[in-house]
Symmetry: D2
Subunit: 365 residues, 4 copies
């Protein structure tokens, strides 16, 4: 049992999630490396101190450079806004420290490219947590084992409704390309699509801002966007991303059809995977609702009973396990910065297609 | 109670459905006009006679011209394959007889245009039955009353799996544009989209044949197709059509988001409509599953108890009621041939877009 | 194709349903006997005449004796209130005419016994329609084929909410034992339990009136009742019946567990049956939602497409088919009056148990 | 931030869950007391040492007396089999140490009574975790606020299928009353019923062993049991408990009807609560699926996004928060040993009723 000093930049929504994950991942997965909450950084000293106390860190700072440079900080989690990701990651790699960076990788395609280049030879990981549920890991397994045959069709969405009310005021979320729906929400599902089906070769997209005028300001990034695409394996696909989808709270959902069956999943019921296989007698065929349990990836460490359920926080614990394992074994674990860049390429292609109103090829990252 | 002599061309899947509907529509809706099953037509004398006996018609013929011309046949239902629709309809209009024509209107855009032109001044109707369920009629009402605000997003699909098995042999269904997925299945949902959201102004589509080689022949029409579009009211939309969607048996389904709420529907559970309205307190908001009953359109005539359910055949009875009413009042009832042509225009635009790989404008019909 | 003259007593909710069924059953099932709507009877001449016209009967009367005695009335459907069932049935049997009687069989145990005795040697049938859906017929098949092994547990309910509002006024439904929940609603599910699992040998019940004072009167029959029982095959079971179950519109629902699997059904989604079989690998086990189609009993005659759905009225058409077949073949078709009496015995036992607060044995009918 | 030394007896299924909870509860809830994993106990030294290492405890022992007596162990979690609960709890109370005891409270009614008596004046808590989900806490809130009116009906179940296969061998679980379905699973739902509806006054039950002969031994405790009851508030209820319910993995589920609405919940989809309120217009009434989020109890500390979901482990973290708070404030937090005893009384009454085949009154604990 070797300790490793963890430094987290950002103590908000995701900073807390990673702090909690680092507190429990050792007990959950009996990891070789055991995190020690060494230092937390936030924009102000007051908030940094508050987070230190609340989450149980040893020290706090309002300067991420201090955190990155601290010798007792041996691995860095970036949970601050997208426009801070590049600089922090580069500084960490310069000191040869492993970096876990929240999604999206960089605040722009160029940032992501620079970060990916810098990550070569280092341990890097990107925070695509939704694809880490036991259910979605199992979906990947089923597909790769050929359970539903060759894939003919994919439909994915990442839909939420936190800005569905036109009277919700403008905030930092409503400006900056990387904070719009394509920049901020789409990466989860695009990463999901790449993981489940494989590379996207071409696409056509349509992106727009529905509510331009909001109380307290003008919105300058996109509310929703739709994509139609082709995958390298020939499958067709559609995706939709939205922060204005009334009724959808965590709409990371997909439907996949193959030549032998089909799979459906919706993160709002994250402990079930729906599977249809065509090899049943006609009278007893149907989508079966599989409740996730110890027979599925990464579940048993959380609970011995099937159907008892994992939740959002557990996805972050799985990420922490993978990050620690990558560090310990000095072997990259998916998804690395390169995988994050693949996603950014698709986002960039979609934004370009929406501007030109034409099909575009996706550049290999 | 005035009788009206009905002639049906075709005694297969839909010919039977219309025969049954004409037998019971009077008792269900207490219609002013009461159908008399006068004559049925099929390709062979033997089958025509068999249908006559089975469905209870007075007479049978193997020549639709005889049926159309017969003086006791006062209204005509066309339930034969798409390539027969044009000639029969034209002959009927020439005798000033009302025509109900199964979808799709014509076997081609040109057929549909000719038929629509010929229908002017006559009673015409097209067989878009799915949009006639009490649930989908109620969805239309809710939208037009502004229950979910301005529409921002539409997703529709018509998916089935009758050709999902690559080993299913080639048949007449696997050749002829009008028998492919875009020609045969898409019209239902496109008509649904137009009815629910309004005209489509532009679209981009991708259509393909997945299983080109089948036992007993080569497939020359499309297995599935996807569309991305804009509506005249500004809403974005996606559609998908498929006959190879394993697990989907009657996947006429849509999701509609507006600025105040959302609606979901799936024909596989046709007696429920899901409604989300944003005007609830946050803690008690959620999609509600409304079970269709006497409070909804065209339900009470079938059953006094809510949630007791209508089925496929009942949609055809509702169509028959509307057709009889159009004849009696000599006033067109939606959807007329013009409405059918609107749908064909969208299908034509989608096929064109798929060939040119570009966004195309939809021609007003 | 032989015609048979049908007389229906009652033109309300169920009188209409049977009139519609008799209008279309011939076309749907290509029956040997073809119903002719000969005469309808209602309490007043005016309403009888109105029904005659609306449903398309040849003649009308306000005296059921006239109807029963009429030589052109060859089969009788009793769709009038429970307290009229006995007299009408007896008169019909006296003339050796076949009788279809709506549920519950008689207005009391004694009535049911007399009716059952009188039915011997005649064609009789009771209107338990819910068990006639293709889904529930398929459930019966699965169980009898051993698909879920030996039955260990049954849970059934028949719940609706038409009197859930305490401010709903008292009516004829709120007095008379046969009009209470145990008398009126429970028979459907008790019949279902007997059909699915087999005879009930003993039970304990608890029945009560929740809202005794209603606008316009005092309620003298029961609002809801619960039963715990043992079946002859050893299975345990629970049932619940209610007319005050807010949110339940057609809550005819059951769950059945066996030693090899389980089945679930809810009439509110009557076109799906849920099946779990334990013989799958652990990772892919789950309840599968089977959409009913041509592979299931009595579906294909309504529609060739799976998942397209049947509804309430279609159940009554299936009943009509069975009644006509029983008449034509002069062979009893389940459920006869004897089967209706079996149900009444269970209801009587439940009411007795609720009074004595003790387990009681169910008398073999 | 005051540390508190935690000792856990048992390192299996629940010992681990509590160890993980104690590791993260501080960061999740920013608790005043911060757990320090001081000592873990298991039956053998080897396993105790293994657990120490895996979960991150400072020390280990194979003698619970050592753990209880250790001065650095300031609070005790009992996560060992039921027959060890009494002795450990008594020893801890003798040293005035707070005790969290896994359910069921004692191995028998007498044990539970002795433990409850001993708990007076001390901090005690019982591990009823399922009722702690944000969804079930919200259900309790809704009911107590009168959202569904006066309760008329309750149906609860705790069903799993870990022994559904008759070929599963006999183990320690298949002997000992406290390890049977009534002893081991029923307490969760009985506690739920008491929390949601209030005290049970009388009941009748039927309990049995379905599979008496299993490989490797004879089963001497119960496989399933059913209960029918009355609550002090007059509501009727039914419950079912089973370890042989094929298809049910975590079937802690309830349906509650009141005079103004209804609530449904199923732990297998633990992040949704279904609510029906009768005060909507008839056309838009329906059960709404509320996705749990920050507007509901104890959710926001786990995630800021609604619908993102909590899981099994999070329930245990909520328990840990309550236990720490009780200790810090020296004020009992529900459910104490007294509440655990209330549950045991109901179980005892059910077993008695099953033996005597009669309704029995439930003794106030
Ligand atoms: N994987 C997921 O499910 C989610 C990922 N995210 C991602 O996590 C990252 C953080 O987002 P949230 O936690 O929602 O933001 P937040 O606003 O809740 O917290 C941001 C934190 O970063 C700190 N911060 C800001 N600028 C800083 C700077 N220059 N130096 C040091 N600290 C600074 C703030 O003080 C604050 O503690 C973003 O990249 C976002 O896209 C956010 C939400 C969900
Ligand atoms: N609205 C809906 O849900 C559906 C609509 N349809 C439409 O209904 C129409 C009929 O399709 P199905 O009933 O499935 O076909 P089918 O193959 O089951 O029956 C076709 C009938 O037309 C007759 N027929 C063929 N050629 C004829 C001719 N030249 N003259 C007279 N009779 C002729 C055949 O003898 C046969 O009775 C098509 O336009 C189809 O697209 C089909 C299925 C469902
Ligand atoms: N199977 C099912 O799903 C249902 C069965 N039922 C059963 O059907 C029967 C009729 O109930 P509803 O149709 O709901 O009643 P309703 O009140 O809608 O209609 C009753 C009809 O009986 C007629 N009638 C009453 N007394 C008569 C008399 N002495 N002679 C001749 N006609 C008389 C009335 O004029 C009226 O036309 C009852 O036995 C009821 O339990 C009712 C509803 C559903
Ligand atoms: N709340 C819930 O969801 C659940 C509660 N439980 C309850 O938790 C308790 C433990 O059950 P599991 O964790 O499933 O059992 P388990 O068999 O997984 O673990 C039992 C642990 O207790 C230890 N142990 C046994 N006898 C001991 C003794 N005399 N002294 C010290 N340690 C001893 C064993 O070494 C082992 O580490 C039981 O009371 C059970 O009813 C169990 C499962 C779920």
């Amino acid at each position: 049992m070797t300790e490793i000093g963890i430094g987290i930049v950002g103590g908000g929504y995701m900073g807390k999630a990673h702090a909690v994950a680092m507190s429990s991942v050792g007990a959950v997965f009996n990891t070789a490396l055991r995190p020690r909450l060494e230092m937390i950084c936030a924009r102000s000293t007051a908030s940094a101190q508050w987070y230190r106390h609340a989450y149980g860190f040893a020290r706090a700072t309002d300067d991420w450079r201090v955190l990155v440079a601290d010798p007792k900080v041996e691995a860095i989690v970036i949970a601050s806004p997208q426009d801070t990701h590049r600089e922090i990651a580069l500084a960490a790699f310069a000191l040869n420290k492993p970096v876990f960076c929240e999604k999206p990788l960089g605040a722009s395609l160029s940032d992501s490219q620079i970060m990916t280049k810098a990550s070569v030879g280092h341990i890097s990981m990107v925070g695509f947590n939704y694809i880490r549920t036991p259910a979605s890991q199992f979906a990947r397994q089923l597909i790769s084992q050929g359970a539903i045959g060759d894939i003919t069709w994919f439909r994915g969405e990442h839909t939420e409704d936190f800005l569905a009310d036109p009277k919700s005021p403008a905030t930092w979320r409503t400006s900056g390309e990387a904070n719009g729906t394509m920049g901020d929400l789409a990466p989860h599902m695009i990463n999901g699509a790449l993981a489940l089906i494989g590379p996207i070769t071409s696409l056509v997209a349509d992106v727009e801002t529905v509510h331009q005028a909001r109380p307290e300001g003008t919105v300058t990034n996109d509310d929703h966007g739709q994509v139609m695409c082709r995958f390298a394996n020939g499958a067709m696909g559609q995706m939709y991303f939205s922060r204005i989808s009334h009724g959808r709270k965590m709409g990371f959902a997909y439907e996949i059809t193959g030549t032998k069956g089909a799979i459906k999943f919706d993160q709002e019921d994250q402990n079930a995977l729906w599977l249809y296989t065509a090899d049943e007698p006609e009278a007893t065929r149907g989508f079966r609702k599989i409740l996730i349990g110890p027979a599925h990836p990464d579940y048993e460490n959380f609970c011995q009973g099937p159907g008892h359920g994992t939740g959002y926080q557990d996805q972050i614990i799985i990420e922490a396990r993978d990050f620690l394992q990558a560090i310990e074994t000095q072997t990259p674990v998916w998804p690395t910065f390169q995988d994050g860049l693949d996603v950014t390429q698709v986002v960039a292609a979609a934004l370009a297609s929406s501007r030109t109103k034409a099909w575009v090829d996706v550049q290999p990252a």
